[in-house]
């Protein structure tokens, strides 16, 4: 279930992307964090206890919103702009 709730920007163009293998849609101007958390409620598992995390500061400071692309690259979700066709994965194994 989504964590974030859209209150505005409904009028902007949809941006298709893939999240954990499923086709999803965000909006132009979304960060990857927004695009993911308007569909689901976690981004990664913590490194040591494996507890769910969904970002915290949204300004590139806390480093708690890293996700993966399908080819294994790491991106910081809050400071990466969503681009059409992005193939994203949330981190489902600690330290992966």
């Amino acid at each position: 279930m989504a964590l974030l709730k859209r209150l505005a920007r409904h009028e902007l163009l949809p941006v298709p992307f893939i999240l954990n293998g499923e086709a999803r849609s965000g909006r132009a101007g979304d960060t990857v964090l927004t695009a993911i958390l308007t569909h689901t409620d976690e981004l990664r598992l913590s490194d040591f206890s494996g507890t769910p995390r969904a970002g915290f500061c949204q300004m590139g400071a806390c480093q708690d919103c890293w996700v993966l692309t399908s080819d294994g690259q790491r991106i910081r979700a809050c400071s990466t702009v969503l681009e059409p066709g992005m193939n994203l994965r949330t981190i489902a194994e600690p330290r992966s």
């Binding site: 490194d47 040591f48 294994g72 690259q73 790491r74 330290r95 992966s96």
Partner: protein, 391 residues
């Protein structure tokens, strides 16, 4: 606040050498003051790479190194923590046939010294260490070597020494030390005066001043080995990695961080601290990503660097002063002191108690440079001044 301490032994420098000596001396019943200018283990002892490695040491260090090798697995019993010591093995890579030949020749030289080195050819490297990329000509594996966490080990030795009754004085820099008829007189920070029968100079990169004060200048310079650490990753690296000819060394801790070194840093504004250079760090990062495919998408989260003392011949100075009775030096470990330090501590304690050590340390005599200057080979000089009789 001024105070005067009367001790059997005053130790200058609370690194791993000084702390382990303090602990060993306390266990023999000597009273000890350990004088540290900052925090114990905060310099080279605490911020080194963490390699616990016998392989690659010159043959004259192996006896000492073997003695230390027996100590590492017993850390828990000695200092209360295992220091994250892992007996992972140390794999030294050869990138060229010439480097492989060099590894082979080293293996032959130390064949009788008990390192149990295993030489591994090109194809077997691929099979056994598939996580290493690129064209590796071969490697030499020392199965009993490993790695540990310097931050924890060095502090724990100092704490264990304190618990064993050593007077551990941090933020107490020694400003003056002199020989007096009944021993030594030291002046240190916060008005601390120490009178001691023995002095151990284990002041690391800062030891040169104290040696010089007793008429024993040494070719000691500062080096700043620098390291990068990655974010935590699933564990893939199951040995401590080195390379013949240098350039990279790497280990992965149980929590998943990879620590990679191979370049030098530079001194910070406060000369007691150093920091990696940007270019050095980026070079190490690139090398690590090229050698280990698992690191290709990884991020470095921290760099660090430490200040170490390096001798011209890269062997430490360990043993009695040649000018001053009851003064013992132990410094200049030249970027390779971590593994042997706990044994050095025991050796220093033996020197105090017995005037000699059961482990050979002649090669580390402080006057070897002076003798070389005079063209006189090691070992052909009169016996050093070891101890004065106890009062």
């Amino acid at each position: 606040m001024s105070r005067t301490l009367l001790k059997d032994v005053a130790i200058i420098g609370g690194g791993l050498v000084g702390s382990s000596a303090a602990l060993a001396l306390r266990r023999m019943g000597f009273s000890v003051a350990l004088l540290e200018k900052g925090f114990c283990g905060a310099q080279a002892s605490g911020v080194n790479y963490g390699g616990v490695r016998r392989q690659g040491r010159p043959p004259e260090q192996i006896a000492l190194s073997q003695r230390a090798h027996a100590i590492w697995p017993r850390l828990k019993e000695i200092i209360g923590i295992d220091g994250e010591f892992v007996s992972s093995g140390h794999l030294k890579l050869a990138r060229t046939e010439a480097e492989m030949a060099s590894l082979e020749s080293y293996a032959a030289r130390v064949a009788e010294l008990g390192l149990d080195l295993e030489l591994i050819g090109r194809s077997r490297i691929r099979e056994r260490f598939a996580w290493i990329a690129g064209d590796v000509a071969g490697a030499s594996l020392c199965p009993g070597d490993g790695h540990a966490n310097p931050r924890l080990v060095s502090a724990a030795f100092a704490l264990a020494a304190r618990r064993a009754g050593a007077e551990v004085l941090e933020h107490t820099p020694v400003s003056h030390v002199e020989k007096v008829p009944e021993g030594f007189h030291l002046s240190a920070g916060s008005g601390t005066e120490v009178r001691a029968r023995f002095v151990i100079n284990s002041a690391g990169a800062w030891a040169g001043t104290f040696a010089e004060a007793f008429g024993e200048p040494v070719p000691l310079r500062r080096i700043y080995p620098s390291m990068i650490v990655t974010e935590p990753l699933s564990v893939f690296m199951n040995v401590n990695i080195g390379a013949e000819g240098g350039g990279i060394y790497a280990r992965q801790v149980e929590r998943g961080n990879c620590i990679v070194g191979g370049m030098r840093g530079k001194p910070a504004a406060d000369l007691d601290f150093s920091r990696p250079t940007g270019s050095g760090a980026v070079t190490i990062m690139n090398r690590a990503a090229a050698l280990f495919p698992a690191l290709r998408n990884a991020y470095a989260i921290r760099f660090w660097s430490g200040t170490e003392g390096e001798m011209a011949d890269r062997n430490p100075v360990i043993g009695f002063s040649r000018t001053t009775p009851n003064l013992i030096h132990a410094f200049g470990f030249s970027g390779a002191g971590f593994q042997i330090a706990p044994a050095v501590g025991e050796v220093l304690a033996e020197l105090v108690r017995d005037g000699e050590s059961r482990t050979p340390i002649e090669a580390f005599a402080i006057d070897r440079f002076a003798r070389m200057d005079q063209g006189s080979p090691v070992g052909s000089v009169p016996e050093p001044l070891k101890r004065e009789t106890s009062k």
